[in-house]
């Protein structure tokens, strides 16, 4: 009896042991946010200290902006300023009592000063590891007289880079379709839901907005000429051309990782097949060959494979094939309606929507069809997943009782937040590459 008990305890401890070893293995990167047991990281962000009065007009404190941006990532828990024990006295010596911060639950601490620098100002920032009592980084950020949004973004980016090894998704946009009774159009907005802009203004039917990986091009399907055609727009010049207007269906798919090709769904040869179009030469190559629907192709980030939807086995399911169309393999087996595959930029996993208990929910599965995880569970219909460039977040459409929302969640389904809400449909979100990659 006693022996059995001891064995059971031992078995329970094994996963704990695995986690702790994994933690040690990732020595440089502080946060292993992809671990299954990942918890949000508690961070205290102090208001920046500024010099005493008489120094002229002060620039805006970037602290609030840093808090807002870090909150958007979904991996930080921003501690309430009211819980801070340490009073922030202007000009107090640079001594930090780490115990004052660990006792309120902060693992990380950001402190900074606003100092005159040349003609302008500078935000001197320090990020501390509270548990180790060490400085993680120290950096000066130039401040302009206006908004502190830009320096706030830079500081937040650097914190994320230092703690996760990745700059995150701050400098990204999301394209999506607003569908009204009068017709639908493509819009774009920043990752923080600011700066909403019309990409099209035709009040037609639009579908499948897609960014090229270098953000030079934007492709989509529109019925503005009376029937579905695929359009390619050069984002800088705004020049647009029709790249597919064959008889029947012309649907836009995803770009190849090198941006040279684009996948299309065309019905010109009798039924819906997937084709790769070389943008420079307009050379078209057919990839699928089955008397069934093949649609919604998504290129893997390494360019080797393509995920797509096919009903060749009776109901819509996700399949993976080589980039030349060979070695077709079904990867979803649960449920009778699995569509909208989106490949994680970090490779490995494919997010999609599946019908379960009469609701559409977001799932992710690896490219071999193993390790299936359900990511959304609420009472809404959750559709059209699209990964962020960091591969750490997923944007999707959520619809419940007449309300349509664009939501973001962490790649593990945690920390869901609503980006935009409307009575109109907000569908088919597509996450842009990082602006640095443009």
């Amino acid at each position: 009896m006693d022996k059995k008990y001891r064995l059971a305890t031992g078995l329970l401890l094994i996963p704990l042991w695995i986690f702790s070893t994994a933690g040690f293995a990732a020595a440089k990167v502080y946060i292993d946010i992809d671990a299954p047991g990942f918890q949000q990281f508690p961070i205290a962000i102090c208001d920046f200290q500024s010099p005493k009065a008489g120094a002229g007009a002060l620039p805006e404190d970037p602290a609030e902006s840093v808090r807002r941006y870090l909150d958007l990532t979904g991996i930080f828990r921003i501690l309430d300023k009211k819980s801070f024990l340490e009073g922030v006295e202007p000009g107090s010596p640079e001594v930090i009592r780490f115990s004052d911060w660990s006792v309120i639950g902060a693992d990380f601490l950001l402190r900074g000063h606003l100092k005159p620098a040349g003609a302008g100002w500078s935000a001197e920032s320090r990020l501390y590891d509270v548990t180790r009592g060490e400085v993680i980084f120290e950096k000066k950020y130039p401040l302009t007289a206006g908004s502190a949004q830009a320096p706030g973004l830079s500081i937040a980016s650097d914190i994320l880079l230092a703690l996760t090894g990745d700059e995150g998704d701050f400098r990204t946009q999301i394209a999506f379709v607003i569908k009204k009774k009068s017709g639908s159009d493509i819009f774009t907005m920043n990752y923080d839901a600011s700066d909403l802009k019309n990409m099209t203004n035709d009040h037609s039917i639009v579908a499948a907005p897609r960014w090229s990986p270098d953000s030079r091009y934007f492709a989509f399907t529109s019925y503005k000429n009376g029937r579905p055609m695929v359009f390619l727009r050069h984002l800088k010049t705004g020049k647009e051309k029709v790249i597919a207007s064959f008889p029947g269906l012309n649907l836009c798919g995803s770009f190849s990782p090198d941006g040279k090709k684009i996948l299309l769904t065309l019905s010109k040869d009798g039924n819906e097949e997937i084709y790769a179009l070389e943008i420079e030469t307009m050379h078209l190559k057919r990839l699928t060959n089955s008397y069934s629907i093949d649609v919604s192709p998504a290129w893997s980030p390494d360019g080797r494979k393509i995920a797509f939807v096919s009903n060749r086995s009776g109901s819509p399911q996700i399949f993976v094939m080589d980039a030349d169309g060979e070695n077709v393999k079904r990867i979803t087996f649960e449920g009778s309606y699995n569509t909208s595959p989106s490949w994680s930029p970090r490779g490995g996993r494919i997010a999609y929507e599946g019908l379960i208990n009469r609701k559409y929910q977001i799932f992710s599965v690896d490219e071999e069809g193993n390790n299936l995880i359900q990511l959304t569970f609420d009472d809404a219909d959750n559709e059209y997943p699209s990964w962020s460039p960091s591969g750490r977040q997923i944007v999707f459409h959520s619809r419940q009782s007449g309300k349509s929302r664009l939501c973001i969640m962490n790649a593990n389904g945690m920390n869901l937040r609503v980006l935009k809400e409307s009575r109109d449909f907000l569908v088919m979100p597509s996450w842009s590459p990082r602006s640095g990659e443009r």
């Binding site: 639908s184 039917i205 579908a207 499948a208 399907t221 029937r227 579905p228 008889p247 029947g248 269906l249 649907l251 769904t265 019905s267 009798g270 039924n271 819906e272 629907i293 649609v295 919604s296 939807v309 009903n311 109901s315 819509p316 309606y337 569509t339 909208s340 929507e353 019908l355 559409y360 559709e383 059209y384 569908v427 088919m428």
Partner: protein
Amino acid sequence: MKKHFTAIGLLLILVFSLTIFSGCAEKKAVVKDETAIQEQKVAAAQQGAPAAVTTDDEAAQKAKEAADREAALKEQAAKEEAAKKAAAARAAWAKKNAEALLDLNLQNVYFDYDKSSIRPDAREILKANAEIFTKNSSAKIVVEGHCDERGTAEYNMALGERRAQEVKQYLVNLGIDASRIETISYGKERPLDNRSIEEAWALNRRAQFLLK
């Protein structure tokens, strides 16, 4: 010279007034009088208007208004006449067109959920439609494929196209020239019934026909 003009004007007004009172105002006379009034007005303005002239001016004004009313009435009558004719023509055209459309009697065919195969009940409808297409042999045929609101927009666009293609193939097998038939999928974007119930979904999973 000026005095001379005024005298002529006054004389003409007098004549005109008499004509009005005698009750036989002819258009020609009115026009002539208007010229006189103009002249008289100019004269009055240059000399400072005497009271007597003002009285006569009012009478002339009334006459002018009467004439204007008459002209306006005539114009309106003409307009109404034209509108009536146009409306009648439109009604006749609409009636003829409606009869023609009614004669065509093209019916939709419906599909099962997530299916594009032609249902048994659709076969008779397609045969009837094929006869109509044969009778109207010069017209091009558009087959629209539609889906219900459930599922992904993209997959439904493919499914709608599949439905339209299946219908096209069926019509070709019934002897309709394939080159006459065009297919277009509207996916789930153009429902007939916006409700989220099975009854509406069944109505929305359809192929619709157009002749052009």
